[in-house]
């Protein structure tokens, strides 16, 4: 007992982890540069973030940013797609590009000795892609086929069905690429969106790891300093997350499924919410760790599932709070009822001082390993700071902010966000066997999983 108490105290007094030294500067064309040097492992990471992302996709052309990202390395001014890949792989390097809701990210890593060659490849991909017509065609066709592959895999597919249904077509997070939107994407739009978005005012370039700081700075400034400033992408100020006036259910039919996958969703917050830290603590206790209330009920106590969790989306726009789990077909009702019971009881009773102390220690204990251990992780933190307009206090003061959260605060936050009324349910499973169960939770809309599109009405 004494041992535990002493350790508990240590946990409470855990030393704040600080961001290591780094530099930030803004070039005349608007490009923001960060350098974070760390010796040891002879690798260097280039993380380039371009503002826009899928939010910039025009109506009916969801997937444009994603396809543009994928094509950056498939042919450039200097290299064919094949040559580019030979170069990257030949150096033992990696270069991945993808689009998130708010930005396109190119993440490349090379051996430190190959700094200049690595930077040249990154620069080719970001600033000089040629988007050859046949590569565009192949990429689009492969993505359409990948949708089929995704729909064969219920654990992965439910996410897209859910995003489409919950957010709807008026919120950027609800515009998930599908067969129809890919089909409308042409090379000319890719070229146009690249020219418009990949400009100085939208660029964040982060170099992290082991490199020669003076030489690195000179070559990075030379590479990105001459990019046209262009126009900064203007993000949507806000997008309303629909809160339905009555509970609603989307039932996705996969007749061969032997278990039901489910998401229970309600409106949440954005990254800049003042409730961020208490909400992280609240979610950790409710569904963000192994001993969380929801996993304890559905997995540990009842053996209904291998895993149950909750998550709070914190993007640039308001997002959702979700409960996620799965269970065998004939315990669908039992598992969903149990999840709802836990949700209701949490909203009513909140957490205890002891639980608050435990989640505070957990969040702080996990943070160094998960967030600021490697050069890659730190590059990620810096990009988030820049993208969301945050300061280094996000890291340096994080533990103090956690310590300052009171029981009253977390319980107010729990009541405010973890509500049990007017929820959105998405169930993916054998509809013939769970249709009646689905009706119990709200008005049901149905869709057959293997049909094209994610929305219940494909013309949407």
């Amino acid at each position: 007992m004494r041992l535990l108490l002493a350790l508990g105290m240590c946990g409470l007094l855990a030393a704040q982890v600080k961001l290591p030294p780094y530099t930030r500067e803004v070039l005349p064309n608007g490009t923001v540069l960060y350098f974070m040097h760390r010796g040891g492992i002879p690798l260097v990471r280039f993380l380039v973030v371009v503002k826009g992302g899928s939010e910039a996709d025009p109506a009916g052309r969801s997937g444009l940013a994603a396809i543009t990202a994928e094509l950056l390395r498939r042919g450039t001014a200097q290299y064919s797609a094949a040559q580019f890949s030979e170069e990257v792989d030949g150096l033992g390097g990696t270069l991945f590009a993808n689009a998130s809701e708010q930005a396109t990210t190119v993440s490349a890593e090379f051996l430190s000795k190959d700094f200049d060659r690595g930077l040249a490849l990154v620069s080719q991909a970001i600033l000089h892609p040629s988007f050859p017509e046949d590569e565009v065609r192949k990429t689009v066709a492969r993505r359409v086929d990948s949708l089929k592959s995704a729909k064969d895999n219920p654990g992965a597919a439910i996410r897209s069905f859910y995003d489409t249904f919950f957010f709807g077509a008026n919120h950027p997070y609800g515009r998930v690429p599908d067969e129809a939107s890919y089909d409308h994407i042409q090379r000319a739009q890719i070229v146009e969106s690249h020219q418009r978005l990949f400009v100085g005012k939208n660029l964040i370039v982060i170099v992290a790891g082991d490199f020669d700081p003076a030489a690195a700075k000179a070559s990075v400034v030379k590479t990105f300093g001459s990019v046209p400033a262009g126009e900064a992408f203007s993000y949507l100020a806000a997008a309303a997350v629909p809160r339905p006036s009555a509970p609603r259910v989307l039932l996705i039919d996969k007749p061969d499924a032997t278990q039901t996958y489910f998401v229970i969703a309600q409106p949440g917050v954005r990254r800049s919410t003042p409730d961020r830290v208490p909400l992280i603590l609240v979610n950790t206790l409710f569904g963000g760790r192994f001993t969380s209330m929801i996993n304890d009920a559905l997995r540990v106590n009842s053996g209904l599932t291998y895993g149950a969790s909750s998550s709070v989306q914190m993007g640039r726009l308001d997002g959702a709070i979700t409960i996620n789990s799965y269970t065998k077909t004939d315990t669908t009702e039992k598992a969903i009822d149990m999840a709802l019971d836990v949700l209701k009881s949490f909203g009513e009773k909140g957490m205890t001082a002891e639980q608050l102390a435990s989640v505070k220690a957990y969040v702080k204990g996990e943070y160094p390993t998960a967030t600021v251990q490697t050069a890659d992780q730190i590059a990620g933190v810096l990009s988030e700071m820049e993208l969301y307009g945050l300061g280094r206090d996000e890291v340096d003061e994080y533990f103090a902010r956690i310590d300052a959260v009171t029981l009253e605060q977390v319980n107010a936050v729990a009541r405010k966000y973890f509500r049990a009324d007017d929820l959105t349910f998405v169930l993916l499973g054998n509809a013939a066997k769970i249709r009646d169960v689905a009706r119990k939770y709200g008005t049901v809309t149905e869709k057959l999983a293997r049909l094209p599109g994610w929305a219940p009405v494909t013309s949407q």
Partner: protein, 434 residues
């Protein structure tokens, strides 16, 4: 020259032998420690040399089930207490089971070190076998099986493919166990499995992070050394007989796209051909310039195409995994794969291609060293599968020694038609039109 520079770097900065200290406790448990004070956290990994290869028909999956039971209460810390105490002291954990090993992975602030020793020693030495917890955990394991096998086309096909490639050796059955065994293993099965598998002399503990070696050893002697030595698992006697002809199996399942797995028998991890096979796996499928990517993915025949193998104590399989595109007959992707393998057998790879693969492998080795978790896993894996953690330090030397001729020789030796199993998931068309 490159190689020597690399070794100096590895030894001097990252994995330096002076920086790694080991000791074996009186009960036979080996302790490997690397001090690293960059962050105030610790990775503590326990490698038990027991996995599904040590099971028998009727009780398949019991190693994996045990991985779950280790979190369900022991003598001092009852049900739920391991996780609760760990999390409230800032720690988190996971565990994994393979054909060969069961590994427990703990990450926590260094302030929780003594608590972790106390709790780990409690469950390793005095696990409780509560029938109620066993019943509930069966449900959890079933759910895990439903997700990763029954409702995963890839998982289901892989199970079938491995059961077909291995007829005699225990790699025949899945790590998760056959469904009927999950339902019916007994308390006796569980107890005897624990007794052999969790003998301290059957375990390697690796600690990397914000610790002091002497302190770790003092805690090890206090908490772990009193656990008595026991009989470890008996040797696995059955050897897979040589395969004498191609095997083909199909799985009919509702799906939109087929999947194809092609398995070739290869030796265990300690075999000198392993680094050659590793280079081959990189040449074939690491990156968009790899041979299979170009031949199958870039050519529009497949969504994905990969080939590789994992660590194994006994002879294992090299597995190719291909998902053909809509309208592409798996016979076509299969033919393309076989042609690529013939090419590997018939023509020496160029110097540039060989050096590309070696650079990729070198960079990947560095990537594994970035985190305390990555290093703990690397040290434990080398200790268990390659005959000593120090083998990790000169892995690049073995890789660098691989020649174009080695690649041809090894490709001819293993990638023959008689040595392969081809498993294909054939999509079943839905009976009712929408």
């Amino acid at each position: 020259m490159r190689v020597i520079g690399v070794i100096l770097l590895l030894v001097g900065c990252l994995m330096g032998q002076s920086n790694i200290q080991t000791q074996t406790l009186a009960n036979g448990m080996k302790v490997i420690v690397q001090e690293d004070h960059a962050i105030p956290n610790v990775a503590m990994y326990f490698f038990f040399k027991v996995g599904s290869r040590n099971e028998h028909p009727g009780a398949t999956g019991v190693s994996h089930f045990f991985e779950h039971m280790m979190f369900n209460g022991a003598k001092k810390y009852g049900p739920k207490e391991f996780d609760r105490n760990m999390e409230k002291n800032g720690g988190s954990n996971n565990a994994y089971t393979s054909n060969d090993v069961t590994v427990y992975t703990d990450w926590f602030p260094s302030s929780a070190l003594e608590l972790m020793f106390d709790m780990e020693a409690d469950r390793i030495g005095d696990l409780a076998f509560d029938p109620k917890m066993i019943a509930s955990e069966r449900g959890v394991v079933y759910s895990e099986r439903r997700s990763s096998v029954d409702n995963s086309n890839f998982g289901l096909l892989r199970e079938l493919a491995e059961a077909s490639a291995f007829e005699a050796h225990p790699y025949h059955w899945p790590v998760l166990g056959w469904p009927s065994d999950i339902e019916s293993w007994t308390m006796e099965d569980l107890k005897s499995h624990w007794s052999m598998g969790y003998a301290p002399n059957n375990c390697v503990m690796v600690i990397v992070g914000d610790v002091n070696f002497d302190n770790v050893m003092a805690l090890s002697r206090k908490f772990l050394e009193p656990i008595p030595r026991r009989e470890p698992p008996p040797p696995v006697r059955t050897k897979e007989p040589e395969q004498l002809g191609e095997r083909r199996v199909t799985l009919d399942k509702p799906a939109q796209l087929p999947i194809q797995l092609v398995l070739y028998h290869i030796p265990d991890s300690r075999d000198p051909d392993t680094p050659v096979l590793d280079v081959i796996s990189n040449i074939l499928s690491n990156g968009q310039s790899s041979r299979l990517y170009k031949r199958l993915v870039d050519s529009q025949m497949a969504i994905s195409a990969n080939g590789g193998f994992g660590e194994a104590l006994d002879p294992t399989v090299f597995t190719f995994s291909i998902q053909p595109r809509t309208g592409i007959d798996p016979a076509q992707t299969e033919k393309a794969l076989f042609e690529e393998l013939s090419k590997l057998q018939g023509e020496p790879v160029s110097e540039a291609e060989l050096s590309k693969a070696k650079n990729q492998m070198l960079a990947n080795m560095y990537r594994r060293l970035k985190t305390i978790q990555g290093r703990a896993n690397l040290l434990g894996t080398y200790e268990v599968f390659y005959g000593g953690y120090a083998r990790a330090f000169d892995e690049d030397k073995r890789v660098d020694a691989v020649t174009a001729a080695d690649i041809q020789r090894v490709a001819r030796k293993y990638f023959g038609a008689k040595n392969r199993t081809v498993a294909t998931l054939v999509p079943e068309k839905p009976e009712v039109k929408p």
